[in-house]
Symmetry: C2
Subunit: 497 residues, 2 copies
């Protein structure tokens, strides 16, 4: 049976992964805190993303920009003018609700992004009334989703908390090309907080007001927009594909190799194909099953106005298939906008062509850390009836604790001191914990529930032959390992997956 | 000759460490972006801090709370009421300036934290006038340093960007004790952004409006407030000490062992002594020299009202000795305030004593990542006249790139392909880069300037005997190493320091 999002949130709270923010004061809708286990999982997700996207590659560098910037960034990007949701306000009780969610709940109709006039005519023709008091709504109004603030002591110095990290990359594009030696095609990656003043945050971590993004803008010379030198690496990679055409024809998602998707022009550019496979692989390598992921193309009317083509990697969340990562082809839209608004030259000097070009962002893989967090925990969650406890089968690279060390029983000083010795010898290299309280079975169960891949137990045999047992979370099988070989055995065990 | 802060900021920009935020739009005072090298250094500082404070210890867990919280957190903490700076506004031209900075510049008098009446009487008695137009100031006014914003579509839902991470730890205290098995004495650590709407940001990264904190609240049973079980580990640790009394007597800072400082009651509690040494050691282990650090006690009138005793670790910055890390004894002030305001029980059940206690925060080591960043870069910066280039002697654990791989010359395909092979073989385990452009001397100089600890060169001898040279950034000495042993040699080299 599928886990519900509420069950998942209760589990996350109980085990110290996620708390509602400032709960002692009644919390704050759309804001969450990461507890002791949550912060470890989150940091591991970020570290794995950074390694795969920045450290392991020669063509990507990172930046970390500020959350508050000169407000002109958001004028140029279009966010000040049009980053809005339609909002319905009750004419009587004044309660406010997000129009598209309200209409979807009532009429099962997707109105996201529709102009206000169309929203109003739907509200009127279906006689929709306020959910709280039953009175009529006022005309729908646009509500800007950026959080505003005032910078410095002067009045009217309005700025914004960035609603995405992407624009900070575009604003810094020239700085990066001026101070590094990177050549097209290349990417600039960034991890950092972003804020959206959602009218109705919902689905636990899925739609928060404060969240963290992992984004990369990948810049390519305009005449290379369809030739990716790495595409051969992924041609045989297979994934579930759902194109706009397939959706129109009501076809189900289909397993397809990248080669086939390119040959049949289901995916239009080599760059999109390469990066979709790359990102899909990244999720898969950390434990998301292929059956629970698919790539879905946006309809023309669903795409952002600047996007030439957009695909999402979707995950089968407890509440259905939803975006886990978006990947738009933004062309040269953003750099052009910033050139226009700043008056600065953001073109790139191509040494081979001896010419300046405005690079195209052929793909922008963009994802929220929170959605990845949700997907990894959901995927790992196993209610093991046989064991009688939950087993959180997180990938060892993501597991908050890599191992635990136990004395078999806690009332034998010789076992405890030997176990402490083992513990201290491996602690500097692995994030592990010590547990000597309760029965050994209880301690294994506690470790299972928080995703600890390996439990190391010092028992009476240890005192004779300097071996310990290493128990696998996933199989419950135990192997005896010499203490002198424990570090290597644990390293191998954690890398096995 | 000492580097100036301006020279440091020019260097940081030129090499891609730090850019002014949104510079194409004229920037934004007090906001900075980390460039490709800066983000790596910053991430390493954070990772080393987390390892030392959380992973390597049994008595500390981490959290990662939200930046925007229920505003009652900041009412309870006192920030809404009194987190203000005195501001002087010109009666004629309306320009605003921070009173304490203005008075310090004009009169060399420290007025930080003084009541407004006192500021006004100083301004009047010294006939201080507006720096821009020379007219008289209005009466000084309090300016709250928290950035405000509005959450959700309802008017008047004011909240704040947290001005410190600490209060989020207190607000989550009960959640952490309820969902982990940690026992007193223990710490809760957090790394994250904080925001202060400084009236006049200055000194480059030293006083920004957006910055990142690394903080820990260390909780102890009230009757254990002076007995630290770890104090023996640091008794022989020596550091420069400047107590409040020494400052009053105009004595210079004095080298002292922790043992002596405790015996002579210069440092009042074992906890303060232990953590001051621990933190001092952390900076020292990553390259800050003992001569450039000292611990300085706050005067009674300088301390925050809630603090029983406060010491800073100060660093000898380009603009003088200033706080690198603060460490207050906050007693049970914060938990008590939050209990009072929330009506929730935040006491801790002591199983041994069978009683509930309100723990004391005996120390709160609190530092800005930006100040650590500045100190590490300043300390590492060497203008090497003999080499004719800057050598950035960052600790290998902090260096953005750990190594670079070069073919000796770039026009010999056999060298290039061999060097590429070497490069690819070690790339998965180390953050390294490839450079084949320009003379080998120019490539060494570039590596020196960005702090690369080791340069690996493939030369003609490599083709004969499968050895490469490894050049040390700090000594310029080269050693020949077998390619088969390169990974181990590089690991040893990076850990040697």
């Amino acid at each position: 049976m599928k886990l519900t999002i509420d069950e998942l949130s209760v589990f996350c709270k109980k085990k110290g992964f996620i708390y509602p923010s400032s709960e002692i004061y009644g919390g704050m809708s759309g804001f969450f805190d990461y507890g002791p286990l949550g912060v470890e999982l989150k940091n591991s997700i970020k570290a794995e993303w950074w390694k795969a996207h920045v450290h392991d590659r020669d063509d990507v560098v990172g930046i970390d920009g500020s959350i508050i910037t000169n407000p002109k960034v958001w004028v140029a990007s279009g966010h000040v003018g049009s980053f809005t949701d339609a909002i319905l306000e009750c004419g009587k009780c004044g309660s406010k609700t997000r129009a598209d969610h309200f209409i979807e709940d009532k009429l099962k109709m997707d109105t996201a992004g529709l102009p206000l006039e169309q929203i109003n005519s739907i509200v009127k023709s279906h006689k929709l009334k306020c959910g709280k008091c039953g009175s009529a709504f006022k005309d729908a109004a646009g509500f800007n989703l950026m959080f505003q603030t005032n910078v410095g002591p002067a009045e009217g110095s309005t700025s914004y908390l960035r609603p995405e990290t992407a624009q900070v990359i575009f604003a810094d594009f020239r700085q990066v090309t001026d101070t590094t030696r990177i050549k097209l095609p290349f990417g600039i990656a960034q991890i950092g907080k972003a804020f959206r003043n959602e009218i109705s945050p919902r689905d636990f971590l899925f739609r928060c007001r404060e969240f963290e993004q992992m984004e990369m803008e990948y810049f390519v010379s305009p005449d290379q927009a369809n030739s990716c030198p790495y595409v051969n690496e992924v041609l045989d990679y297979e994934l579930l594909v759902l194109s706009a055409e397939m959706q129109q024809k009501k076809h189900a998602a289909k397993k397809m190799k990248i080669r086939e998707a390119l040959d049949k022009k289901v995916i239009k550019t080599q760059w999109h194909a390469y990066w979709l496979a790359f990102e899909h692989k990244w999720f898969s390598s950390l434990g998301i099953s292929h059956d629970n992921m698919r790539i879905r193309q946006h309809f023309d009317e669903e795409k952002s106005h600047y996007a030439l083509d957009t695909w999402d990697i979707e995950y089968n969340f407890p509440f259905g298939w939803k975006e886990l990562q978006g990947m738009a082809n933004r062309t040269d839209y953003d750099l052009s906008q910033h050139m226009k608004h700043s008056g600065k030259d953001l073109s790139y000097y191509d040494e081979e062509k001896k010419a300046r070009v405005t690079p195209h962002v052929v793909v922008e893989p963009s994802q929220g850390v929170e959605r990845a967090f949700l997907a990894f925990v959901n995927e790992a969650y196993n209610d093991d009836k046989e064991r009688g406890n939950i087993v959180l089968k997180l990938h060892p690279k993501l597991a908050p604790y890599k191992a635990a060390v136990f004395p078999l029983v806690s009332n034998k000083p010789e076992l405890t001191s030997k176990a402490k010795e083992v513990y201290l010898s491996i602690k500097p290299e692995f994030n592990i914990y010590w547990d000597a309280s309760g029965s050994i079975g209880r301690r294994y169960a506690r470790a299972d529930e928080t995703g600890v891949p390996a439990c190391i137990t010092v028992d009476f045999k240890t005192l004779e032959d300097d071996t310990v047992t290493v128990r696998s979370r996933d199989t419950t099988k135990q192997e005896r390992v010499k203490i002198s070989e424990l570090k290597k055995a644990l390293t191998d065990f954690l890398n096995k997956k």
